[in-house]
């Protein structure tokens, strides 16, 4: 740890000093060294009585060293604006974190090809399907998927990226040793091994409103582009979208049915500030990774489309055989997700027959059902 890094860690530990103020303070004194050398009267003049006291209180070299050592023992690295590994993307926002705790593959932060992919926690089966598909395809194509490891679509995105053998970064609103909510714990561990966990907060910090909101700025700032797959009227995802625009990042959304509550915000963002994403190529184009002339993806109605050559279907797993009756159900479902009653009306099967067909299709992994008994084809 260099002296300059020590200064930032010190600043990160000062109670009542925000990231924005900390950066200003360093600039005001003309560098980390100068700030370290500053005496009490100077500090008091710069930041006032109370904050100066906190600053001096936290300036204990021993404690800072202990903190760094404890983190290193736990496999957690601390990046500061003075560290070479500090992500460049964070330097151009107003309030870059003084300390960024990281666990995993630090190299991921350096790439240009970071995509923030976020979505609501209360998703529909459509949102889940689209998020899974896009995250997997984009991760395979070489993008690193950045998300917030919340329940719902965030977790879906991380999981899909990992399963596709791609890279992913989770930006947490709590200490790296805390799992919030507890259900994401196993996924968090897996990301630590195969991807990267970052957080602005020291180990042991629990997530709260006060940490969840500032976390959004990291999600928005880290990548060049933010993709929102599904967000309802009051989704927290909107904050990330707003910040992405503020930071001059590209904002992209996936359209949904105009009467679907879960697509309320994504559809409206599309009207105001977001690019429309219809397939993974649309995203790759924004990163200059695909040619515009390649043409469109085939229409989704053309059935279960083959993903980019030789990638989607794992070898040796042929598509399961479907009976004639099951095919009738599938035909109805390929157009749009349907409820049980709607399926009865379309297919004219009896409730008993339909129940049994749907279960078989579900067992074969061709369709899935979501809460409210809505059925949809997978992929």
């Amino acid at each position: 740890m260099t002296r300059a890094e020590g200064v930032w860690i010190w600043l990160s530990r000062v109670r009542g000093l925000g990231a924005g103020r900390a950066r200003q303070l360093v600039e005001f004194f003309g560098g980390e060294e100068a700030l370290l050398a500053a005496q009490e009267p100077e500090l008091r003049e710069a930041v006032g009585e109370a904050l100066a006291a906190s600053l001096l209180e936290a300036r204990r070299q021993e404690e800072i060293n202990d903190h760094v050592r404890a983190c290193r023992r736990a496999g957690v690295r601390i990046l500061t604006p003075a560290s070479p590994a500090y992500p460049e993307a964070l330097r151009d926002i107003y309030d870059p974190p003084c300390a960024l705790y990281a666990r995993g593959d630090l190299g991921l932060l350096q790439g240009e090809r970071l995509l923030t992919l976020v979505g609501t926690r209360r998703h529909t089966s459509y949102g889940r399907r689209i998020t899974e598909k896009l995250a997997a395809e984009l991760a395979r194509a070489g993008l690193t998927i950045v998300s917030g490891l919340a329940e719902g679509l965030d977790s879906v995105a991380h999981r899909a990226a990992l399963d596709a053998g791609g890279k992913t970064i989770a930006v947490l609103a709590n200490g790296l040793d805390v799992a919030y909510p507890a259900a994401v714990g196993p996924l968090q561990e897996e990301i630590a091994r195969k991807g990267l966990l970052v957080s602005e907060y020291p180990p042991g910090t629990r997530a709260s409103r006060a940490t969840l909101l500032p976390r959004n700025r990291l999600l928005a700032a880290l990548s060049r582009a933010t993709l929102v797959t599904e967000a309802g009227q009051r989704s927290g995802t909107l904050l990330v979208a707003g910040l992405a625009v503020e930071y001059g990042r590209e904002l992209m959304t996936v359209p949904g049915n105009i009467d679907s509550p879960a697509s309320y915000s994504t559809n409206r963002l599309m009207r105001t500030s977001a690019e429309t994403v219809l397939c993974s190529r649309d995203v790759l184009q924004a990163f200059g990774m695909a040619d515009a002339e390649d043409g469109e993806d085939g229409p989704p109605a053309a059935g279960r489309q083959a993903a980019p050559a030789g990638q989607a279907v794992p070898a040796g797993q042929a598509a399961p055989a479907v009976t004639e009756e099951e095919e009738r159900v599938l035909q109805a479902l390929r157009r749009e997700p349907l409820s049980f009653d709607e399926l009865i009306a379309r297919t004219q099967f009896s409730a008993a027959k339909l129940n049994s067909l749907l279960t078989m299709l579900e067992l074969k992994g061709i369709i899935d059902q979501s809460a409210g008994r809505t059925y949809a084809t997978k992929s």
Partner: protein, 510 residues
């Protein structure tokens, strides 16, 4: 002079004949009641004294001792008024003693001498009939509930004066003509008819399966999807009650003082509110009264808003569900009430009720949804075979032209009765009577799944990660579905359909 009047006591739903002995002799005027009377019985002195006077009989100025025999059972309730009054009249020579022989009397007296109805008249008269008593005087207002009894002459009595005149041979009372059960059961209309349920094909089908196999059912649906209405349809599609069942059920309601008409021919539907205490649900209290589960005997117990029920209350359901009876022990009474009911539960998918709706926004976090769902006691969930998700019906589906007339309860009930009859035949001589009660160790033998069905089961186990318990549940439902199709062996399609009613999938219970 001494006189004896036969009457009846009861503990819970068990009646027992007893004797009211009255001794009237010269001495200091006093009235003594012995034989473990409770407060209501002791107070009967004052009612009897006033009622006698107001009926135009002098109250003997004498030393009166009243004994309720057998003396070792605690007597409860106010229905000894009439026998005591008749006993006093007989002992003072105003009614010939021999006219009282072989007759039973029960009834509460008003101060003006008219008779008020008693609770539990039916079980008491049943006990009297068993004891060989030929005639009974009972309050006229209890006549309807008891009219089903044959083999005992029942005289409905309006007042003490009428009873006395009848016993003296001065007036006639027409005995009740027994009503044949078949006549009663003739025109049973369901409370809510299935024909009035629009759409909900999946849930309708599930309801029929539940009725056919006696399976317990949990309905999950957004607010307003019609869970309660559907549940109310269940009694109407269950097989008609047999006379024995109707009698059992009426007896319990008689004890609770809730019989308004005659014998109950409609299966009961009991829907306790979620603030109900365990005692009100299971039974108990000072008088060891029957609870909601006993009132639902031979019918349906409906728990709406299942997660709102306190866990302790739901846990108390487990034993009765297992045994079909509930035993209530109190300091001086031990009552056994039958409680063989079919359980239907309903719940919203989340606290706000909109999770999964396609048109309304759910405001709950996934964590809240999870917590809401996990509030339900696991052991109770284990006893629920079928979980059915309801579609949220849109208003235009309800009123639109597309809404075709649906099948009515009567049609469905006929099918259910056929399936139940087949089960009764198959399980004759067994200690279970419907598919829902199939013991796990007999499943394989009784379901006898085909090769394809076995493959489907294996696939379900693997893909849906069914537990052994879940496996048994699927197989039981598959048996019922096969019965409905008239198949002797369980086929693959039955398994597939049965598996769609498992509820423990990743959506709800992880």
């Amino acid at each position: 002079m001494l006189s004896t009047v036969t009457s009846c006591g009861r503990q819970g739903i068990e009646g027992y004949p007893m004797r009211v002995e009255v001794d009237v002799r010269d001495g200091l005027p006093m009235v003594d009641v012995v034989g473990l009377p409770d407060a209501a019985v002791r107070e009967s002195r004052e009612r009897v004294r006033t009622a006698l006077r107001n009926s135009g009989f002098p109250f003997p100025v004498a030393q009166i001792t009243i004994n309720l025999a057998p003396a070792d059972i605690k007597k409860e309730g106010p229905w000894y008024d009439l026998p005591i009054a008749l006993g006093i009249l007989a002992a003072s020579g105003r009614i010939p003693q021999e006219r009282l022989r072989g007759a039973l009397a029960l009834g509460t007296l008003s101060l003006d001498g008219s008779l008020a109805p008693v609770t539990g008249a039916l079980p008491m008269l049943l006990a009297a009939r068993r004891a060989g008593i030929e005639r009974a005087l009972l309050p006229a207002q209890n006549a309807r509930e008891c009219a089903c009894l044959s083999g005992i002459a029942l005289y409905p009595v309006e007042s003490l004066r009428q009873a006395a005149a009848f016993l003296c041979g001065e007036a006639e009372i027409a005995p009740l003509t027994p009503v044949r059960y078949a006549d009663l059961a003739e025109d049973v209309r369901p409370e809510v008819d299935l024909a009035s349920v629009r759409g909900q094909y999946a849930a309708r089908r599930a309801l029929e399966i539940a009725a056919s196999g006696g399976h317990n059912l949990l309905l999950i649906g957004t607010a307003g999807s019609g869970k309660t209405m559907l549940a109310r349809c269940l009694p109407g599609i269950l097989p008609r009650m047999t006379e024995q069942e109707a009698l059992e059920t009426t007896v319990i309601h008689s004890v609770s003082g809730e019989v308004s008409g005659g014998l109950m021919t409609r299966r009961p539907f009991s829907a306790p509110h979620h603030t109900t205490s365990a005692v009100a649900l299971i039974g108990g209290g000072r008088a060891a009264a029957p609870g909601e589960i006993s009132k639902a005997h031979n019918g349906v117990l409906f728990l709406d808003e299942l997660p709102e029920f306190p866990r302790a209350v739901l846990e108390a359901l487990r034993q009765p569900m297992e045994d079909g009876v509930v035993t209530i022990s109190r300091v001086n009474a031990r009552c056994v009430y039958p409680a063989r009911f079919q359980l239907v539960c309903a719940m919203n998918p989340c606290p706000c009720g909109n999770y999964g709706s396609r048109t309304r926004t759910c405001r709950c976090t996934p964590h809240e949804v999870q917590r809401y769902l996990s509030r339900i006691s696991g052991p109770l969930l284990d006893r629920i075979d079928m979980v059915v998700e309801m579609d949220a019906v849109e208003p235009d589906e309800v009123f639109g032209p597309a809404a075709a007339p649906a099948e009515d309860s009567e049609t469905v009930r006929r099918r259910v009765e056929r399936v139940r009859a087949a089960q009764n035949a198959r399980y004759a001589g067994e200690d279970f009577f419907c598919n829902a009660r199939l013991p796990a160790n007999r499943l394989e033998e009784i379901c006898n799944p085909t090769k394809d069905a076995r493959d489907a089961l294996a696939l379900c186990m693997r893909r849906l990660q069914l537990s052994m318990r879940g496996y048994a549940r699927v197989l039981r439902i598959a048996r019922t579905i096969a019965d409905m199709a008239g198949e002797a062996r369980v086929q693959a399609e039955h398994v597939a359909e049965a598996a769609s009613y498992r509820g423990t999938n990743e959506k709800y219970w992880k």
